[in-house]
Every structure is written in structure tokens, then in C-alpha cells.
Symmetry: D2
Subunit: 396 residues, 4 copies
């Protein structure tokens, strides 16, 4: 198995050397004070990265999907109504989970490539004068389409309607990479995982709960044990977990937070934007459209690139893996075969990005697309040269 | 943080060098065929370790607790009745989970230190002519008390009663260390985790489903998404997961199975028994009783040692950590303060065990117990000398 | 410290994941049979990579420079005459070493960028009818100029003259990457190190001695202890060293040989040639000449690229490190400031090479050279597309 | 290959987790400023550990033997006279090296088990009124016999005689573990390696030169290249080496110095003494004599234990490796078969030491020696209990 080339999937990301070492840890007693010295700073670090002064942070040995389930099962009861837009595979899956757990979902069908329709949310919330909607679901960054949504606008929709529903945000592919403001946006539950902005292996569901969300856990009656936040909180109070924690990953998370906060969150976001802009310059040079319908929607962590009608975009991904040993993301759901995705989040440099762009060019040319070799690379080089990294040591 | 001394907690175990390296893996595309080359052999390896010809093996990024939840939520419906004995903290917790998910539990209260009361099970099952009991829960090895139960006897109870209830076995601290026979014992669901017999970090819930358990998933209506085995099975068919898998841990699991099977399961069991016998020889030399009420119940993975009346056994654990940097397990629940536990599973040699015995002696002497220094060590030495390891390279 | 980008220095190379893990080894007893299980296969592997049936292989905890010293001090005596050409920094340094140890060096000054002048050697050897010349020194691949020399021709020069001098070859940057034939070329001592074709960290001097060279150790009187091959041979016979060996590196060497031989030496050479040809296509597209004077001299492990008159080539290297975090090699000695070097040996893919080419383009453009962005990349892409790797997993 | 048990050889030591990670480093450009950020602090750290204000520290990719050769070849000329005592295998080997390099050695034969005979040195130096003796060799800690010598007394012998000879000290198995005072003792060259007190893998020769020794390099004419300190010094001035450095090991050395200095040198020495005293208590309980003739000579890094007449001590070492997977040191040279050695330096806790003591007991009993199981363990436990470690995290 070769590990020479970087990966360009939209997570898990390339893992920095220092984080691999932080995760690769001998066994310690997870019921000892030593463990608390890992756990508490990790939770505090996450809280800062969420830009929250007081969110309760819970970290489960699971994935972002487990984080979604944590949000729903701790705060809601069967039959409760939630509002959600479906504009990509990940919002679709969260909706599907709601339905499996007996929630009623008011679904706002939204074209894939568009952001969350805050105006539609506003109308629906205004109309819900009985406040039957208990929670609004919002996918901050649709990993499937490379679309970033305006969470502040969703908050405004709630506020304008004077609606008390909770706001649950899926920030799996945004938190730690793109600007996220738990407190300012009035987020009630934020969900993420270890394998995106935190640049770690998959294996941690990371959630933040507002005071209001914590209060809702008193009334929510959906069954839960593994994802129960009260058990977790009780454990934390004793430097422990209700079951065996993933100590190495938590140690990595602690170290990841330290790295990101040392770099400065705004620098982290600028770094992601910069790498993304180079990739987008290449895409533009190729003459291919992004799936995201408007520049304001462009994600800084993943670009979903539309290929010409009649061409199977998935072939690029298969071909790149087989011929060049490089991994991109396929299109999912509605855009399967129509887009391929270049992940550009986490531990990545412009130099690495150029190799991903160059390889995509070779693949497209190999498969008969009318792509001029070097064209995207040149556009990205031009951008990167003129917009140098602050320091080449970012996110080492 | 010092990692010099081995740990003597009953899991996570000391991790063999080769497994640490197998887990510490750069990112690969978890939707690529490469991933299948890790996933499928890992599942097949687990199946062999379960001693099953046909169990469906599912591996979740979670822990054994998640495995319990997988068992319950995939096969049962709210209001379903299950039979379970409570003879320690882990059987207690599984019962608690059942109740949280709306199951009715017929609880057989059993003294802590005793094994599962198969005769009581037999009576209850015989009496349940309406077959209201859908599942029987059985904790193979109570980690809290160091008690091994007779699963074959539970199966006989079911068979003698001609009862169709499923048999769910918690093998978290037995599978991969002590004899476990999925097919022969007619187990329907076996639950374990990565951090015990497999000698890996925590982070994987590992479950095996019989054909009957798979059939029950068609009728079970408890809500589930993260732990849904059908989503998982669908993913596996495409070399994938329904969400992001913990690739490094799966790679470690694959390697762990390879190691255990290369050593030979019976050798693995004999190795654990041998280490355990040395520890038990030491305990006997100290004149302290085990929590397990009878030699037939002695666990080969953990010994819970009763300290004299009036002595707080937890002090040993705290003192060992603070003064000597060595981790033992505390007593839990009913036996809190009454026992301390020496874990002796996974990657451990007689030489390492001797250091754990020697340290326990120092601690007990420090805390005023009437323990002769070197007495337990001498008893264990005597045993180990006369019963040498087959090869000193076991479970490297 | 960031480790995200590959390095493009002409060694140490990028280290494959599996070799990093092989080197990172806990302490074992280096006087135990276990050590022999590492040492002997490693020596045997090296012998095969040298293409020798019977060379005695010695491995010192040192570097290639120590290998040179091993060659000289074990076989020669003060005042002995050796023949050597100076066509680059490394041949220069070996000559300098000869002089420091009291040898008389007949130096054939050769333009940097040219290969070894076998015809001049032929003349000199023919004229040396008294056979005063005891050894002929030959640098197989001049790392400073990216020039490969014809060792077979040097052998012919010796044979044609019927001259008994030993042939000492510096294969530091060729062995394990480019074709090397110890037996066929009648090499008496071959010298290399761990950090080039073997893709390991620096720290091992690796030498092969022919039977004739071994015989010469009986008469050579230059003082030596650390590099004494007899002490070493005596140690090897007991699975040991005359002092403490670098066990982890030896374990890595063993693993490296296994990898290279599994790939097949001819495949290894073809892989290096292929990567090199892509780099050379880029250089040609840039309109820059190589330092190597003729295509027959082009090294497949490093390219030294001449920059235009008046431009300081070293600036490229400094700029690349500072702005882009990428390492190239500077020009040394006579060609300092006139060339910069791209190392393309060891663990490298076309995808990685493209990032090195792309970055060099950005640097040259940044520094005002008339280089069209994407031009070299396109030429290399074109080559790599048409000449795909046999398998993307080579030299993982 | 099993790495479960600690090693008890007198170096290489058990390697702390953090140092393994520091050594396991991706490739960086060893001619870049980054390298200087590793090199210079490492040299400065060594200087502090030598307790010197101004020693020039040189670090070669070699071993302690290379350090000896560095000392001799840089400062002396063929025919020069040196004074040395032979009281063990390592002093013997250094003397042998002197002779191979054409030095005249005035050898003071000293019983193995005795320390350096400072009084004999005094006589000889006083008699050498012509000051023909250029250097006095002193092995601070004879690893073969577990004997520590009084270097201050050797300095006094020189001073009392008003003799200008340089003082070369082999501190391979003392520096970083036992008190060493470069400046106070007027040491001119100190030699050590990476694999003892620094707790790293073998692969670095570490030497400190006084101003007087540096001056002697101007006149010493022994041939040298690889070990030339002037080439090295020139390299250092440019953040570089005259050849390729072992970057990972240097990074580890830097980290090791940081750890040792953070712990405090006196604490480091006390820690070694404490572990050693426990081992010696065990040896006394066994009724076996140490090779070291007097308590004042007892080494705190290794104990050489005499076994009864007629018994082959080497059998213990072989048996321990084969049956228990534990490594001790054999007797060397004059004491081969008469002693076995327990190394107790570097990364070791009392808990680990107890496992080494317990295993030695089992081996001796297995081989028929009249050793009471647990007797040595009890003596060591008693000592360790009463003399607790300052913090159990020392030398993590």
C-alpha cells in the first residue's frame, strides 16, 4: 500500500506528522487524572474553535453521523417536528435519520448546488405560530456539492419569526477550516468530526450544546445510551467516560486544537481560502463549472466540479486512483457521475494542491476531455505566487 | 507523561508494537478498493476468532457499549421482553440500556462474584411458554468481578426449554483471550471491542450476528441509524461504510486477527490462562480471596482481589498510580472499595506480570496490609518457571 | 516544523512509510540471535542489489564518506598511488580524503558536467607498467553535476592494460536506483549509504568488497579501527558488531532490500528513469540546459540545471525553501551559483515530481527568469501520461 | 519479534516514547536553516550535560568507538605516547585502538573490578619529566565490570605532577546518568554515545573538546577525514555537516537533552543511583558478590554480578533470552563466564527493575543456583518503598 501521494478527498484529510504522533499513544489508565489532562483541554480547545464562551462540548468515539444522532436523540421526542432543507447528500442523510427516529421533517427541497434557503425557512417559521417545529437543521457546508450556507441568515429567520426552535448545525466539513460562530449565530448544537478540520483520523464525533440544547435534554425522550450526553457529562466530572474513551484520538484532538489556535483561527480560515482559490482558478482555466451555483456559495474545503454532459465524472476518480494513485471524491446522490470533487481542507499546501491539480488534468486528458495540460496548474501557480502563504509551516 | 511501566487495567491492554504501527496509518481513500483489502480480511478474521462459520461481522467506530446498543436496537422493539442476570457492573449497565430503550427486562439478581445462574434461566424460560422473552442476555466475563460464566449452560437452558429467544453474549473481555464458541454455543449476537483481546486502542465495537439475529433485524423497530447493521452491510458490499470508517483501527484489527490466528486460538487461551494462574498464585500467597466465588469461575483476563474488611481497596489503585506509576482497576458498583483488579489480558508476559505483582505488594505493604514483600512474586515465579511460555514471542 | 511537501534534494530521499516504521524500533539485545535475523538478511539483500554473487558486505554506523574511508584504509598503505578523475564535488572530496591519508593521487582533471574519462584512464594505466597504481577510483554518479559515468568502460581500461589495480566505485547516489553490476564490472569495492536508493535516513555506510579487495586488507597498513572490516567480519560471525550497531537502521535496510528486490531491480531502475525523464522534459520546456554535457551522461537520480549567466541559481533554492517550503539542492564547488539540482531518486511518484516541477517554475518566475508557468509541468505531464508507472504502489 | 519486556543490557537502553518519536522524523533538507535549529540546541544541550561552559561539542554519525577514534586521530601523531590503565574490556579496546594507530601506550595493568589507579598514574606522570606522555586515557565507567573510577583523582595526579598531558575520558556509560564534570575535572576530551544516558538508538558519537584539545588538533598528524573535527566545525558554522548528518537522531538528542535538563542533572543522577541501589540490594540478598571490588566503585548504570565458581554466568543470559525473552549482558574478556550484567541506566523505573530482578531469580533457580525465589525482589522492594522516586514521570 503506497502512501506517497497526498489525498484530495474531502476528508479524512492528510494528517500532519505531529498529529499522527499525538494519536499513536501507548495505553494509559483512562480512569486516572492523567486522562483528565488530555480530555479537559481538548474540550476547551474545541469550544474555542467553535467560537463559544459556554458551549458544553461532548466527544464520542464515533463519527459525525453519531454526532447527528447525539443532537436528535438527546433533545427531541418521537413525533417532534423539525425543519430541514435537502440540498445535497449529507443534508439528505440527516433528514433520513430524523425520519428513522420517528421525527416529522418538514423538508424544503432545494436544488443541489444551492445553499440553504433562509428565506423559505423564514416563511415556514413565521407560519408556525404554534411553534410545533422544535429544531431547524442546517448543513453549514454541503460536502457533496461544495456549497457553503449562510447560518447567520438562518438564525435571522428564527429571530425574525420570534421562533423558539433550536438551531442544529452540521459543521462537519466546515468547523476548524471555515468561519464558524457558535455563539454569534445562536447555534444550539454544532456537530463535527475529527477527520476534517481537525486533521485527525476518523473516530470522534464532536458536538457542542448550548444552554438551551442542554435544557432540551431534560424533555427529549428518544431512546439513547451510547450517545447520552448526561452520562458523558457525569463521566467528564470524574475525568472519565461512561465507557472506554479513544484516548489517542483525544490526545490528537487536544494537540490539533493547540495547533489551530496557535496559528490563529482567522489565519486557518485564510489558509483554507487561499488554497481553495488556487484550485478554483484551475477549474476556471479548465472551463468547467463548479456545482456551487454562485461564488458566494463556494466552499473553501471542497470543490465539486461539473464535467460536460455525457461524460461520467466518476471515471476521473477511478482512473486517478488506478493510474496515478491519487484519490479524489466522486459525486454522490443526485450529482453522481456529474461531478468529481477535490478536497482541499486540513493539512495541505499550495505545493501539494498543485500536484492534485496536475493529476486531475492528466486524468481528464487521458479520458478525452478537452483540457490543455498545464492550464489549470498555471492558473493556480499564478494565484499562489501572488498570494503567498503567511508561513510555509502552517498546519504542519 | 510516562509510558514506561505496563498497565494492569482490565483493558485497554498494553498494545503490541506491531499493532501500534498497524493503526498509525496515513489517510487512504475509504471508498476505494484499497479499503476493501483491509475491511474484508478484518471481518473474516473476527469471524474465525468467534469460531463461527457464518456469523455476519459488523464493526462500528464505537466501543463495546455501542456493540450492546447495536444488538438491542437492530433486533428488538419497544416493549419486548429480555432476560438478564445482574452479577456485576457490566451486566448491570447492559440491563440499564435495555430499560432506557423501552425493553422489559426480567432481571435475575445474582450475587456479585457468582456466574450467570443458568438454572434460574432454565426455570424462567421453561415458564415462558408464550415465548414473550425475545432475547437472553449473557455476560461471558464480568470484568468487574473477574467472573467467567458458562455460556454453553445458558444455551442448554434455552434448548431444554425449547425456547426460541435469541442469545446475546457480551464477550468484550473474553473474546480473543478466552475460549468463545459462537456456533457451538448457538450465540445469536456476540459483542466485543478492539481494546481487550484484540490488544488495540479503544474505538471499535465488534459484533457478530447469527442468521436468526439477521432475520430479527427485519422486525425490530427500535430506532437506529448509526448502529444500523443494514446500512453497514450495504456499505460493506461496496468496500465502504455508510459513513467514515476508522481505517487505521480496522487495519490494526486485521493485523491483530492475523497475529492471534497465527499463534493459534488455543495457544492464545493457554497463554492467558498461564499468566492468570501466576497472578492467582500470588494472590493466594498473599492470603487474599478473589471476588470470584469458585475456581470454576476464575477469569483468565482479570482478577478482582478482595481486601480485608475495613480497608479501602481503591487506595491501592490510587497509591500505585501516584507512587509507582502503575495502573490497576478499581472496584465498581457493589464491590467498590472492596476489591482492586489486576488486568492480565492481551499483550503481557510473565515478566511483565511479575512487575505488576511486585508493585501490588509494595502498595499493600505501604498501606499497612499484612503482606510479606516478595511472597506473591515468589509464588508466581514458581508457577511461571514450572510452566514456561511456549515461545517468548507470543503476542508481540 | 512542516513535513507536508516532499523533498527534492538528491538524498536523503523521501522515506516510505513502511521504512520509517521498520527503522523506528524498540531496543533489542544486539548480541542476541535476534540481531542476526536482521543483520544477515540485510547483508544478503545488499549483495543482491549490488548484483554480486560473492561480495563481502559490510555495514557501518556512518555515512558514504565513512564508506570511502573504509575502502582506502583497509586496503592501502601510506604512499600508495591511486588514480582518480575529478569531475565534481564528490570525486573531489574522495581525492582529498586520499591525500589526507597519505596516498598519492594521480588526478585526471575533467570538466564538471563530463563523465569519467575512461580513455584517459586507459592511457595512464597502460603507461603504468610498474603497476604502481594500486587502485582506480570511480564515481558512478556525480551527485553534484547529475552525471553518470560508464564504469564498464573503466573496467575495460584496466583489462585492456592488463593492470591489476583495484577498482573502487562510489555508488552512493546510484546503487539501488540505477543499474550497478558489481561482478560484471569487476568492481573491487563499492560504496554507498542508506539515504539514497535505500530510501532510509542517513546513518549507514554500506560497502561491498571483492575477494581481491579482501586480500588487500592483509597488506594495507593505513591505520583503522572504527572502519576495520576484519573486526566487522569477526563480529558478523557471532551475529554481532565490534561495537554497538544501529539496529533500527539495519532493520530498515533489510526491509528496503526486500522491497526493492520484490519490485525487481530492473523495475526499480525503470521507475527512476521514468521519473527522471519527466523532469528532463520539464527542463527542456523551460529552455534550460542540464549540467550533464550529453544525454548519455544524464543521471536518473538527480538533475543539475544550469540557469542563465548572471543569475544566482542558489537563489532558487533559498526562495523555494522560504516561500514554498520546498527543498532543492544547491550547486556545489565549481558550479555553485550556476546550477540548482532537483533530486528525483528513492520514494517518488510522478505526482510528487509534478509538484516539484511546478514549484521550481513558480520560483524561477518569482525571481525574474523568463519561464512560462505550467510549461514544464505540461511537458512532464505529457511524458508521464504516455509512460505510465507499472503500478502506482512502487516503492511505497 | 517481541518487544514486550524491558531490556537490561547496559545500553542501548529502553527508549522513552517521546524520544522514539523525536528520532522518527521525515526527511528535511540538512543544508537548510531548519537543520540548524536542531543541531545547535543539541550541541548546547550536550555541553550543559557535560557541565562545561565552553567545550566544543562534535557529534558524528558513528558510535562511542568512533568517538575514541575522534579523540586520538585529531590530537595525536604516530609515535606519541599515551598513558592508560587496563581494568576492563572497554579500556582494553581503547588501548588496542591506540596501538593500531601507531601510538605508544604505557599500560597500567589493573585487576578487573578495580578502578583506575590514580596513584600509579601519579607516579608515572611524575617520572615523565620530559613530558613524553601526550594524553592520559581514563574510562570513567567500565561497562564490563560495573566499575566507576575517580576522574577527579586522575586530574589531581596530572596537576600534582605539573604534567601537561591531555586528559581523555571515556564517559560512554556514565555521561547523562552519573555525575560528570568536564570543566571541574579538567577533561580535555570526553567521549560518549547516543545509546546510553541519552536513551536513544545507537548511531551518534558525541565528543567534547577543551580549548587545549582544540589546540592539539593543529599539531596532531594522524590521518583522519570522517572524524575530522575541523571539517565538522566548518560545517556547523553553516548549519551543516561535511557529509549527510543523521538528522532524526540529532533531533532525538536535542529532545533528550531538553528532557534531562528539565529533570535536572542531579535528579537524573539520583534517579540512577536509586534504581541501582535496589538492584544491588537484590544482589546482596542473593548472596552474590559484585565484580566491583569496593562500594566506592559501584557503578550506577550497570552491575556485573559474580556467580559461584564452576558456574557459567553466560548461561543466565542465554537462558533468560530463550525462556523469558529478557536481555542481560554477558561477561566480557577476563570475566567472561564469571559475571552477568544487569544494565540499569536510561529509561527505567523501579517497577521495571523489579521485573528484571525477578527474572534473574527465576533463571538462576532454573540453572541450579541456590537462590531463594523472591528474595532479591523483596530486598529491592524494601529499598524502593522506602526511597520513592521523586516523580513517577522521570525520563518518560
Amino acid at each position: 500500500m503506497s502512501f506517497q501521494n497526498p489525498v484530495f478527498i474531502p476528508g479524512p484529510t492528510n494528517i500532519p506528522e505531529s498529529l499522527r504522533k499525538a494519536c499513536d499513544m501507548p495505553t494509559i489508565d483512562h480512569r486516572s487524572p492523567l486522562f483528565g489532562q488530555i480530555l479537559h483541554p481538548a474540550r476547551e480547545g474545541v469550544r474555542k474553535i467553535l467560537k463559544s464562551a459556554s458551549a458544553e462540548v461532548f466527544i464520542f468515539p464515533a463519527t459525525g453521523t453519531g454526532g447527528w444522532e447525539t443532537a436528535l436523540t438527546n433533545t427531541l421526542s418521537a413525533g417532534d417536528k423539525v425543519l430541514a432543507a435537502r440540498n445535497g447528500m449529507f443534508s439528505h442523510r440527516w433528514i433520513d435519520m430524523c425520519q428513522r427516529h420517528g421525527l416529522q421533517v418538514e423538508i424544503v427541497e432545494t436544488p443541489w448546488g444551492q445553499g440553504l434557503p433562509a428565506d423559505r425557512y423564514a416563511d415556514i417559521l413565521a407560519a408556525d405560530t404554534a411553534h410545533q417545529i422544535k429544531a431547524v437543521l442546517a448543513t453549514h457546508n454541503e460536502t457533496a456539492t461544495g456549497v457553503k450556507s449562510d447560518i447567520a441568515a438562518v438564525r435571522r429567520a428564527l429571530d425574525d419569526a420570534g421562533h423558539p426552535a433550536m438551531l442544529f448545525v452540521d459543521g462537519v466539513s466546515s468547523i476548524g477550516s471555515m468561519d464558524f460562530r457558535f455563539d454569534e449565530w445562536g447555534v444550539d448544537i454544532a456537530v463535527t468530526g475529527s477527520q476534517k478540520g481537525f486533521m485527525l483520523p476518523a473516530g470522534l464525533a464532536i458536538v457542542g450544546f448550548s444552554e438551551k440544547a442542554m435544557a432540551a435534554t431534560q424533555t427529549g425522550t428518544l431512546p439513547r445510551t451510547f450517545f447520552d450526553v448526561h452520562d458523558m457529562a457525569k463521566g467528564y466530572a470524574n475525568n472519565a467516560y461512561p465507557y472506554t474513551p479513544a484516548v489517542g484520538l483525544l490526545n490528537g484532538l487536544n494537540q490539533s486544537c493547540t495547533m489551530l489556535l496557535a496559528e490563529g483561527l482567522e489565519n486557518v480560515f485564510a489558509r483554507h481560502r487561499r488554497i481553495a482559490q488556487g484550485v478554483r482558478a484551475a477549474v476556471e482555466a479548465w472551463g468547467l463549472p463548479l456545482c456551487a451555483a454562485h461564488p458566494s456559495l463556494y466552499s473553501d474545503t471542497v470543490s465539486a466540479i461539473r464535467t460536460p454532459e455525457g461524460f461520467n465524472a466518476t471515471d476521473i476518480v477511478t482512473h486517478a486512483a488506478e493510474k496515478y494513485g491519487v484519490a479524489y471524491g466522486v459525486g454522490l446522490g443526485e450529482v453522481a457521475g456529474k461531478v468529481f470533487r477535490i478536497g482541499h481542507l486540513g493539512s495541505l499546501t499550495d505545493v501539494m494542491a498543485l500536484s492534485g491539480i496536475a493529476t486531475a488534468e492528466m486524468c481528464m486528458a487521458d479520458l478525452g476531455l478537452d483540457i490543455k495540460l498545464g492550464s489549470g496548474v498555471a492558473a493556480a501557480q499564478d494565484f499562489y505566487r501572488g498570494n503567498p502563504a503567511i508561513a510555509c509551516k502552517d498546519a504542519a
